[in-house]
């Protein structure tokens, strides 16, 4: 049973690569997304869309760890928070320009991710999960208690939206485009990584670490690098979040947020290129509709995580792959053939 699950989950990527090779569907989506604020002048929808895109970036960050390397990074929201607070503190308290603070925040997250990896990757994988869970909590605690730096329990208030050559990015439509471009670049880069020699080695590590090692892959350095990418992406999303919401509190950096991002991934399809965006879109829209019950959303999301992992570990993208495979099998095409990514 494991084999089928694993096959389904990982050959998700095979089918996805089919679509990805022809980038046309993505281009279409991008064009449609670009037209949205021009056609629908609704700030609420804009707001939802921006939120979905910001959290998608975070989800892509988790996806490179979980979907490509097979590791569970339970401190992800912590790095999101570090990126957010870095931008918040640098712009608000030190008067930095957003366009400098943002990449610096990403860099800080990458370096801290490297540091964590140096310690965590020398231990076994389940210890990695435990360690990152704890680090995630510690990050939240530190942010919460370090009043002087982060505003502690009161949070950081009044982070200003950036200016871009005189254009006020704070305006809903403008920020929408900033976020859209960011997401598009992220997806492009992540796809590149997936198809690269580096990315394939990650997939190999996920598929079997010992085998990867015996094939000559330096597992340790690969894990360190993907960790830096993952935390960097989390920080990227965090930086956007900081200037969009304008207010930061420690709560968003905690494990609950990490697991919500995990939920997005599971729903959409771990290890796929569409999964993170798809899952974030669906669940966030769901979350919007149960606005008042934020604290109790895990009454539904908890069991949902369990059900997903038990019956639909490949997520929606996985169901799509299975439908595709069934269809091509009926048509008579050999399902034995597998499209390789640009090899």
């Amino acid at each position: 049973m494991t084999n089928k699950l694993q096959q389904a989950a990982v050959s998700n990527t095979a089918a996805r690569r089919n679509v990805m090779q022809s980038g046309w569907p993505w281009l279409l989506v991008a064009v449609l997304a670009a037209l949205l604020p021009q056609v629908i002048h609704n700030t609420y929808i804009n707001d939802v869309a921006i939120n979905v895109m910001i959290w998608s970036v975070a989800a892509y960050g988790m996806n490179v760890m979980l979907g490509y390397a097979g590791l569970l990074p339970l401190a992800h929201a912590g790095f999101f928070g570090i990126g957010a607070y870095a931008v918040g503190i640098l712009t608000l308290k030190l008067g930095w320009n957003f366009w400098l603070a943002w990449p610096v925040g990403v860099l800080i997250c990458s370096l801290l991710g490297l540091l964590l990896g140096l310690i965590a990757f020398r231990t076994r994988d389940d210890v990695f999960a435990i360690l990152t869970l704890g680090i995630g909590v510690i990050i939240t605690q530190v942010i919460n208690k370090w009043d002087a730096l982060t505003g502690g329990n009161d949070g950081l208030n009044g982070v200003q939206p950036p200016q871009f050559f005189g254009i006020d990015m704070g305006k809903s439509a403008h920020f929408y485009y900033l976020t859209l471009v960011t997401l598009a670049v992220v997806i492009f880069l992540v796809a590149r990584v997936r198809n690269s020699l580096f990315g394939r080695s990650l997939i190999a590590i996920r598929g079997g670490e010992d085998l990867a090692r015996s094939a000559g892959i330096n597992v340790y350095t690969h894990k360190l690098r993907v960790m830096m990418l993952s935390t960097g992406l989390a920080g990227l999303a965090g930086g956007l979040y900081a200037v969009y919401i304008g207010f930061l509190g420690a709560a968003v950096t905690g494990p609950a947020t990490t697991f919500t991002i995990l939920l997005y991934l599971l729903v959409g399809g771990v290890g796929t290129l569409t999964g993170p965006l798809l899952g974030t879109l669906i669940i966030r829209v769901l979350q919007q509709s149960i606005q008042g019950l934020q604290d109790y959303q895990y009454i539904v999301f908890g069991p949902l995580l369990v059900v997903l992992v038990m019956f639909f570990p490949a997520g929606l993208a996985g169901i799509w792959t299975r439908v595709q495979a069934a269809r091509s099998a009926r048509i008579g095409q050999g399902s034995k053939e597998v499209q390789d990514a640009g090899v």
């Binding site: 590149r192 020699l197 580096f198 080695s201 085998l211 094939a215 892959i217 597992v219 053939e337 090899v343």
Partner: protein
């Protein structure tokens, strides 16, 4: 004992000195000393549980020995991590076919070539020339490895959909793609039928003829006798005999090990004669 002592191919000389490993209370391998002669096919045989796979795990860097040392090309690789050992030129396959069943045959082979590339995350993100060049090189190397392993034409098949024999060839291809100097095959013929065994034997001989130093663990005596130029016998984790197939098949210690030492003398005599006869027969065909 020095690499320079050996006349032929000193850089491919794999030597081990008093090699041993202990798991808790169990001494799985002990005091194994010797060398793998370059350019020939060496077979490692012994009864079940003799420590053959463990020995492979030691010389391929998969396990770290608790005693002794390993030298490759004169360099001490005792403490070298697995991927480093592969980089230096020792590749291996596993007993239970270990390949990536969810990937295509070609992708499996491409992974083997990763050790010869250094294109990293930055190269991936920026789409550098290095990434493009090395990806092309890896694809090329993978095709070559697949051809040598007898899988040309199967590149895009899902590895998990192949027959047992073909899957074993995939793991051989993966190992070949690492561009090894020494190839360790752990029971390559396990679980395949006689016809497939003959095919695989031919492939292995071709690989050795191409200059590759091959070491294999096998139980199928016919395969051993036709392929091996040199045999090493392990029992209870120790080396009990070594030499040419003729020498080894007549060695009383070896016969003792296989028959358990409890057989009647006349049974042992009969077994020895039978083995020698079989040997002679195969030997006759060997030089044909």
């Amino acid at each position: 004992m020095l690499a320079s002592d050996h006349p032929a191919r000193p850089d491919v000389l794999l030597e081990f000195d008093d090699l041993g490993i202990r798991f808790g209370g169990n001494q799985a391998v002990q005091g194994v000393t010797g060398r793998i002669t370059p350019g020939v096919i060496t077979a490692i045989i012994g009864p079940n549980g003799a420590g053959k796979s463990t020995f492979f795990n030691l010389i391929s860097g998969f396990y770290k020995p608790t005693s002794g040392r390993i030298l490759f090309g004169g360099q001490d690789i005792t403490k070298a991590p697995t991927h480093e050992v592969v980089r230096l030129g020792i590749a291996r396959t596993f007993q239970t076919t270990t390949i990536y069943k969810e990937l295509s045959v070609l992708e499996n082979a491409v992974l083997g070539h990763r050790v010869r590339t250094n294109s990293g995350l930055w190269d991936a993100l920026l789409g550098t020339g290095r990434e493009r060049r090395q990806r092309a090189a890896s694809t090329e190397a993978a095709h070559v490895a697949l051809a040598r392993a007898g899988l040309a034409g199967q590149e895009h098949t899902l590895a998990g959909n192949l027959t047992q024999e073909a899957q074993k060839r995939v793991s051989i291809a993966m190992a070949l793609a690492t561009e090894p100097k020494v190839l360790l095959l752990d029971e390559p013929a396990a679980g395949i039928n006689p016809e497939e065994t003959v095919n695989l034997t031919r492939t292995i001989r071709e690989l050795a003829a191409g200059g590759l130093t091959v070491v294999l663990i096998e139980h199928k005596m016919s395969m051993i006798m036709t392929l091996a130029d040199h045999i090493m016998v392990l029992h209870h984790g120790q080396k009990i005999a070594e030499g040419s197939p003729q020498q080894v098949s007549r060695d009383p210690a070896v016969i003792e090990a296989y028959l358990g030492g409890h057989a009647e003398p006349h049974v042992k005599q009969a077994a020895t004669e039978e083995l020698a006869a079989e040997q002679a027969q195969i030997q006759g065909g060997h030089h044909a």
